[in-house]
Every structure is written in structure tokens, then in C-alpha cells.
């Protein structure tokens, strides 16, 4: 075995080893640089919604474009942004509790979510979001809510780092 071959193989092994390290780091990229991947997911999740542009702007208008639609017909809660983007929770008639506590219906594990953060309640014929005196607040279409507020279909509700909306 010539010295040169051994030298080449030596360097080759080090390169291989580092490639392995980078392969692992690369496979973790979505968790290391989660924001970009999340944005992509959010875009695709928001695509079917009729007016995605309106959602991006911190609109001051309390009523969204499809505000006339009553949310009583909502059948799913779709998470559109956050670590669990893309997940769906079927809506029944029971209230949905949101918070860090593990007995919540929707468990959100981030630093901006309170233990018992908010809850969604079916009131007469519409879903109402109620903030349970959380530290960082609950936002309906970009506005912090202070009292139980009706949630129209397709309007984003933000809790901590997570946004979700109600859909048919």
C-alpha cells in the first residue's frame, strides 16, 4: 500500500466523517431553521382560504371578508402556523381548551402560552373564543381580545406562537 494511497484514504475518511456530521445536521434543518419550513407550510395551508392576503396584514377591520358565514357549521380547527402547523382537531359540541397544561384539548408547548390559556365554546350557534386571563393574550385577526368574542370561519386566532382557524 503506497504512502500516497494511504494519505488519500486518510483525508477521504475525515471528509466522510464530516459529511456524516453534516448529513445529520442537514436532516435536522427543519428543526434548526424551523421558521422557513413553517412559512412554506403556512402558505400551503392558507392557500385554500378565500382571502389569504387579508390575513397577513394586521387588519384593523374586526370583520373578515367571510364574516357573514356563521361558525356554527365549523367542523374542524386547523392549525395554520406554529410548531404543529397542519394539524386538525375535529370540533364537536364540547368546549376546546387551549393551553400548556396537558389536560387541555389543544396542548401548546411554547413559552408564550399560559397553562390554561383560552377556550373555544359553542355558544348558541357560533364558536366563541374566551381568553382565560393569559399572560400573553389571545388574538383574533391580530387584535387582542378582552371578552368572549365570536370566531368567524377562516379568521386566524393566535395563541402564543400558534395560529389556528375554524373551517367547515
Amino acid at each position: 500500500m503506497s504512502t500516497l494511497t494511504l494519505l488519500v484514504m486518510k483525508i477521504g475518511f475525515l471528509v466522510l466523517l464530516w459529511f456524516f456530521v453534516f448529513a445529520i445536521v442537514y436532516s435536522l434543518r427543519t428543526e434548526l431553521f424551523g421558521l422557513k419550513a413553517r412559512k412554506g407550510q403556512q402558505a400551503t395551508a392558507a392557500a385554500p382560504a378565500p382571502a389569504p392576503a387579508a390575513k397577513r396584514k394586521p387588519s384593523t377591520a374586526p370583520q373578515p371578508p367571510e364574516g357573514s358565514a356563521t361558525s356554527a357549521t365549523a367542523s374542524t380547527l386547523v392549525i395554520v402556523a406554529g410548531t404543529r402547523a397542519g394539524e386538525r382537531i375535529p370540533l364537536g359540541r364540547e368546549p376546546i381548551t387551549i393551553g400548556r397544561s396537558s389536560d387541555s384539548t389543544l396542548v401548546l408547548k411554547d413559552d408564550y402560552t399560559s397553562t390554561h390559556h383560552a377556550r373555544l365554546v359553542l355558544w348558541n350557534d357560533g364558536w366563541m373564543i374566551q381568553d382565560l386571563d393569559s399572560t400573553n393574550g389571545t388574538f383574533l385577526n391580530g387584535k387582542r381580545i378582552s371578552s368572549p368574542t365570536p370566531v368567524p370561519l377562516g379568521v386566524p386566532v393566535k395563541v402564543g406562537a400558534t395560529s389556528f382557524e375554524l373551517r367547515h
Partner: protein, 475 residues
Amino acid sequence: MSVDTPARPGDEASPEFRVETGVLATMRRIQRPSRLRNRELLLLLFAFVVNGAAMVLVQLGAIGEVQPGPLVAVAGLAVLVLVLHGGLRVWAPNADPVLLPVAVALNGIGIAEIYRIDIAEKLTGWGAASTRQIVWSAIAMVAAVLVVALLKNYRVLHRYTYVFGFIAVVMLLLPLIPGLGLNVNGARVWISIGGVLSFQPGEVAKIALAIFFAGYLVRTRESLSMVGKTFLGMRFPRLRDLGPILVIWLLSMAVIVFQRDLGTALLYFGMFVIMLYMATGRTSWVLIGMTLFVGGAVVASQTLSYVNGRFRNWLDAFNPDQYEAWGGSHQLVQGIFGLAHGGLVGTGLGQGQPAITPLAESDYIFASLGEELGLAGVMALLGLYLIIVARGLSIGFTAQDDFMKLLAVGLSFTIALQVFIMVGGVTRVIPLTGLTTPFLAAGGSSLVANWIIVALLLRLSDSVRKPGPMVGAAS
């Protein structure tokens, strides 16, 4: 594990609906997990290539030809790894995908380097450390499979907190029992079963202690974190709440005095302090812990001759008297020479002289690898450790409950601390103490313990990533 909806009377009326949800549920179950597991398989194959290349290079460098025997043995291990991978697909499909490949790569590189030292010392068969290491790796992987398969729910561990505490104490005391304990290089940390199988129960005690600490701290964290006086911007605990830390401190000191094992004591105590910090979020605990340990270590270095010797070897390593002395700094200095010989890119696997250093295959495996892979290779190895520890910590941070959080952080921190103690010792950052470099060093008990840690982390990460929100039971 199945998420099939139980058949309700209403479903019979609409079979199509049921079929569709069934299909969707199955698809969801298969799609997400297999993405993780496929990623793991890909990385595993990469790790096999790295390990195979390491073995071949060792043979080419040291013997000049390829011998199939050891390669077949390593390939056998790879098959076992694939069994573990298959087990994860069945029992823990959402487990973290990078822990296993990293552990496999470290284990394989360790085997290659141990094999390289066996070649230099002309050891073959059962006398060779590499043969035993391969067998122990197999045992360790079987243990990991068993943990993943049998421990369906980690919360069971929480229930048996005090049982694990008891097991840990028994394991620690075993080597002190006359007739069972074995005195190796002055340290009483081994037990010998019938003179054939020797084992370091302290390694298993490490895991039992982590479980015990996690369970205990979850139960007592309120009283340990809430009360106390604030001083220098930190909240200090009440005197009576110092009990637990003092008990663990005394235990560590007892390990130093009676088992003559500095590294293990540091490991146990460090693990407890970091878990205490995690549970309470009080910096003062870390301060108290470090003060206690440094105080204890200083007293030990003045009163215990073996600790004193370690300190002198560390501070005055290149003094010729110290170098020549029995139990002096010969080994440490040889290790440093080896690292220096390696330089930036190393001598190449199989082409250095790591065997000059005593215990090159166990305590000094890192110096051996440093000589043959150089700084570039050693940094890659540290990077792999970093990945394991970072994954462990992130499993802890996304944990569903405090017990799991503490356990994951405690377990991954033990790996980090062990690497720090060993690499720091070999490179003369801290006094050298006899621990094992996780996964790399020759030593069966340590391999088994570290593979169990990886299996536990895999199990924990699976429960973190369970897809789908927990839909509350209709109340």
C-alpha cells in the same frame, strides 16, 4: 398504539364514512412516522459506511491487507442495529431519527480504534479487547431493543421512583462487598461474577439515579424552589431544604473515599445539581453544588493520597520526577504526545502509535483517536456527541410533563458530563479521572448503560412526537 375509532352503532349506518376515516387514520399513521424512520435508515446506512471504512482503513494502515474476519463481526452488529431500527418502526415510530445513527457511528469508530490497538499489541480472539467490545455492543443493542419494546410508557418509571433509588444505592454498594468486589487499579468499582464476567454496577446505577432524581425532584420541586431568602440577586434555599443536596454530596464523597473513584462521584453529583437546577430554575443551587464539590475535592486532594496524586499529575505533568514516578504522569503525557503527533489531520487510521499510551483502548481512546484522526477527526467526534446531547436536551424541552423533562435532560447531561470529564482529563483541562468515554471506550458495562440511555431517550422522544392533538375525552 392504534388510533382506530371504536365501532359505534351509528357507524353501521354509514360504512363509507368509517372506511374513509380508517384509511385516513392508517395513512396518517404510516406517513408521518415512516418519514422519520426512513430518515433514520438513510443515516444508519451512512453510519455503516463510516464504520466499515474505519475498519478497512485500520487494516490497510496497520496490516497492509484486508482481513474479512473482523469485518464480518462488525457487519453482524450492523444487522443487529437494523433489528433495533425495525423495532423502532413497530414500537416507537415517532422516536428521534438521529440518536441511533450517531450512537452507531461512535460505537463503530470506537470498535475500529480498539481493534487497531489490539493489532498493535498482537492480541487476537477472546484476549482482544475488540472482540469483547463487539460482543458487548451486541449485548448492549439487545438491551436497547428490550427497553424500547418493554417500556411502553415511561411514566411507569415515575411510579417506581424510590425503587430505582434503592437499586442505585445497592448497585453502588455491590463492589464494596468482599468476595464480589474487584480491585482494579486501586478503584473498587467492579464486581466479578464467578471470576468470569466483570461488570461495573456504577454504570447502571447512573441510569437508576437519573430516574430517581427525576421522580424525586418532580415531587419536591415546589418546596425547593419557592421558599428562601434572596441574596445577591439570587434566591437561596432554606437550611432544611439543603437536605437532599447534602445527602447526594455525602454519597459522592463516600464514592471518592471508599471506591476511590473521582470521576463517578463527579458524574453523580453533577447530574443531581443540573437536575435540581432544571427542576427549580434557581441558579443558587448550581452555586451551592459547585461550592460543595470544589470544597470536597480540595479536602480530598489534601487528605487522600490517590486524589492528591491525580492533582499533581495534572498540574505538574511535565516534571521529569512526576513523569518517572510510579502512578505518575507517564500515561497522561504519552496521551498528550499522541495527540500532538496526530496534529491537524492525524497519522491516518492504523498508522500511528497509540498503543504506547497505557490503557489506550479504554481511558485513552480519545487520545488514540486524536493521534490517528487528528484535530479534524476529534472535532467531528465531539460534534457527534454534541448532536446526541442537543437532541436529548431538545427532547427534554418539548416534554409533556416535568418527570420526562427532568429525565431526558438528566440522561443527556450524563453523556455530556462524561465526555467533558474524559476529554478534559485526557487533554489536561481537569485532573484525569477514571470514567469511560461514552460509546467509544472499551468497556462493556458502560456500553450497555449508554445504549440503555439512548433507548430511553428514543422512547421518550416517541411519546413527545405522537402525532395529533390529544382530543379530550368527552366529559
